[in-house]
Amino acid sequence: MRTLTKEIQAVISPVVALGLLKEGNKRYINNLKVNRNLLQQANETSDGQHPFAVILSCIDSRTSAELIFDQGLGDIFSVRIAGNIINEDILGSMECGCNVAGAKIIVVLGHTKCGAVKGACDYVEMGNLTALLSKIRPAVDDETTVIENRNSTNTEFVEKVSAINVKERFRL
């Protein structure tokens, strides 16, 4: 896989960008990887970067955007915060990726078994975590289909809240 240059970035449309990510995730779930010389990529990108995507995902150790989309050095910006929430610093980071560095697509990536979403479902309060979980709480309230066991022990409820939590990022 070639390292991204400004010329290649310029002709990748948002649709192509999405396609590249889908293909990459297909490789990941099949335990396949594109052949890359990572040190050579480090060298080739040392003067500048031209990534095609910004991915907002969780800090969870199992949601590394580079790994799950099989991307190399210089391919994607990765913004990570518990529960893939939004604040001014995250928006500033996305603006840096798109307005300054020319990325073509923003992906908000939620995930199953998210500890932050579970915490919000259980109304957990602890230190600075309280403020963070309050940003996920609207998704808990907006999930209205589950009537019983509206807590983290109910997997169906947690996953439905996670999906709503991703959608709500777009209007914030």
Partner: protein, 230 residues
């Protein structure tokens, strides 16, 4: 039409040499070291730091061992027990899972432009340490950082304006302009570490109890080397 042909050509170039390789637990003759799943037991902050140091060395040597993601997904599908949390920049050239050869399930990663802390980053760190028992927090800056450059150049753009404002107290007073960027980025790492302790009683308590360490690091994206400030 010409534009379309150019586009197709460039994308094919990007996809060129797209040979896929299967990663299995069996060592293949060509790349035996890269296909071995690495099991490391880490019980304290020092062991976590040592694993990150040796992991970065494996990256520098081109001998990654944590690359069987399918196996790692299987091991971590019901729960995660990461030994460290890395706060780093969103920069596309510094994915911590790769630079430290940690793969899936071994490290929490928080990332934003300029590796700054805010209340939600602190909340993320408290989840990782207090709730999940992570032993080490690494705040990692890097050279050629766009956010640091933005702070030095007084850049203004939407939500970025307030972000670079947070880096400004770290701006180096050095008269040698070539040194200002690196010094500012390193000052910013130290400032962030101090803010974490000041602004998170949960984390400072864990540090006092010797259950957690916070260290600074600086990544050189021209060499791939992480220098720890410990």
């Amino acid at each position: 039409m010409t534009k379309l042909i150019t586009a197709t050509f460039c994308i094919s170039l990007f996809m060129a040499s797209c040979e896929q390789k299967k990663t299995t637990t069996e060592a293949t003759p060509s790349e035996p070291a890269q296909t071995t799943h690495k099991q490391v037991t880490i019980t304290n902050s020092d062991e976590a730091l040592a694993e990150l140091k040796t992991g970065n060395q494996r990256f520098l040597d081109g001998k990654l061992v944590n690359t069987n993601y399918k196996e790692q997904i299987e091991h971590t599908k019901s729960d995660q027990h990461p030994h460290s949390l890395i706060l780093s920049c969103l920069d596309s050239r510094i994915p911590p899972e790769i630079l430290f050869d940690q793969g899936i399930g071994n490290i929490f990663v928080a990332r934003n432009a300029g590796n700054i802390e805010d209340l939600n980053v602190l909340g993320s760190m408290e989840f990782a340490t207090k709730v999940k028992g992570t032993k080490l927090i690494v705040v990692m800056g890097h050279n050629h950082c766009g956010a640091v450059k933005g702070a030095i150049d007084d850049a203004e753009l939407g939500n970025l304006t307030q972000l670079v404002e947070q880096i400004k107290p770290a701006i180096s007073k050095n008269e040698n302009k070539e040194l200002i960027h690196d010094e500012t980025a390193k000052n910013s790492v130290n400032m962030t570490m101090a803010h974490i302790l000041e602004r998170s009683p949960v984390i400072s308590e864990l540090v006092k109890e010797n259950k957690l360490k916070i260290v600074g690091a600086y990544y050189d994206l021209t060499t791939g080397k992480v220098a720890f400030i410990d």
